[in-house]
Amino acid sequence: MRELFGTVIGEYNYWAFLILLLIGLHAMISKNNLVKKVIGMSIFQSAIILYYVSTGYKKGSTIPIMAHGHGTEPIHETAGQMVAGFVNPLPHVLMLTAIVVGVSTLGVALALIQKIYRVYGTIEEDEILEKITE
């Protein structure tokens, strides 16, 4: 039990991401308003971005830019030291593209909601369902 407690506290980055993820998921499922659903989707995306970026972190490392840009760069004797000296750049790249896709999906989602409002006069899900079944 104590061991489990230690690992759970030691991995607090997963906690933060987990709580955000669950908030987003709950909003996406339970909210009736379509805009609120989209907000939930954005929170969900942020959770995943946070998770990926946190996996890239290495203790005692610096931003993944070499040679200049930051003055206090340690001298790397071996390739292994150099690798340990920089944050893993791959998750950053993947999340850069994920943010871009997030903006695109957000834009399209808002446009769809505007269109729905134009047709049905409401963006509450149950009211839309009523109007469809009528």
Binding site: I65, G107, K115, R118
Partner: protein
Amino acid sequence: MKLVSLLVTLLLGALLLTAAADFPSWGDPHSPASLHVSDYYIENSLEQTAVPNFVTSILADYRGYDTMFETTVIFCAGLTVLTLLRRSHRKEKKVVTPRPNREDQDLILTSAARMIAPMMQIFALYVVAHGHHSPGGGFQGGVILGASFILLALSYDLQTVLGRLKERVALIMSGIGVAIYAGIGAGCLLLGGNFLDYGVWSKVLGVFGVTPVTARSHGMLGVEIGVAITVMYIMFSLYADLSSGGEMDEGL
């Protein structure tokens, strides 16, 4: 619905929590994510591409295809929003009544925006052009450029900005941005390399003393410029469409 959602959420939370115990701890340099390809990128990026910013070299060179289709995704999103919201005026013959001119445009807001916008644009150009050496790049610079136009549209009104940045121009330019990216890649094919293998551009740029390694750096700069153009115009087009409901008449 709320109960079902809560149940599903809590179940997922418990599942993920039990999985979290097996995850590598925070800041572990030997976590699986940072063991395989990322070491290769960190060790070889500077020798192979002459770009000190690993993120840029991975984004625009090692994973060039990914970024190219990323730009295409943005372009498609812009087109989708446009086609979803635009009403065909041919059918409806709807007369767009321009909103009565706002006499009470706030002086402080407009003058502040007028001063901030050029600064933002210069900074954005720096972010784009210096993306290899410092944090930045095409997406980031493009977003700042787009934001400067959105700021103007918010503080004046949409018509004022659309008078300077025509919607037709914005769409054509965003297409041109993608075409720059793909064109630089296709140029590599013409010069005898693989698609997006910027090193072969040294055959053309060699007269300026560009080696195959630095040619990669220049290729990335060109690609980033293409990305920035697309992102800037699509961001503004998204704002213009969403804020006016596709009418392009008044905005927020």
